[in-house]
Symmetry: C2
Subunit: 129 residues, 2 copies
């Protein structure tokens, strides 16, 4: 069978893992912004995410195009300041994404704990020792 | 400042989100395999992940190259059967990844709940109504 199976059978497909949000740097940016709902200055955001200027700019463009974030250019004591903020619809989309991410963690964490307790000698931490 | 800030300041960098595992289809494959430690037949895995033959093969190759999964070609009543299984080191790497994923969920869920309770009129579910 070469065709894609119906989604109903695809227990682990995680269709809710929105690719725009799931990319690591963008997930980092959005988690920073969702925890700072009043917004963050570009330089502070860059620092929190461990990104370079170029990388952050590129990912913010992707997110701005999808109206997930808004970029506000302003002045602070005559110095230019770029404020980055998650939008209301971006926040809703992030929360949707988060519910699927929580499902992954539940699925995986359950399996990891079952395996560890049933066979402690082959648990991941033991195998690395 | 054009340089990358030190990791210690990068509170939301999530360096542990291993790119090999984080890609959506591979996360789907590995979560299926971690919940089925004895392995899964290729066709069953394909169904659980909602992937096509070609897509699954491609992602399995990436995971096999990094020794995260092993692919065992066997016979079942004279019919060829391909068994896919997560390796011990792959499992350890997945568990490491999972601990960072849990951190993302904790960071985000906390922010989401704080925002919702402090300002219910602008909560994500309300904004979609």
């Amino acid at each position: 069978m070469k065709t894609k199976p119906p989604a109903s059978e695809a227990r682990f497909a995680y269709e809710g893992l929105d690719r725009v949000i799931h990319e690591r740097a963008r997930l980092s940016v959005l988690t920073s912004l969702v925890t700072h709902p009043k917004g963050l200055a570009f330089n502070h955001l860059k620092q929190l995410c461990g990104l370079t200027d170029g990388n952050l700019s590129r990912h913010l463009s992707v997110l701005e195009k999808d109206k997930i974030v808004e970029i506000i250019k302003m002045q602070d004591h005559n110095r230019p300041l770029t404020l980055c903020r998650i939008t209301t619809s971006g926040r809703a989309r992030y929360v949707e994404y988060l519910s699927t991410l929580e499902q992954v963690v539940r699925d995986a964490a359950h399996a990891a704990s079952v395996k560890s307790s049933s066979n402690p000698a082959r648990s991941p931490s033991a195998s690395r020792a």
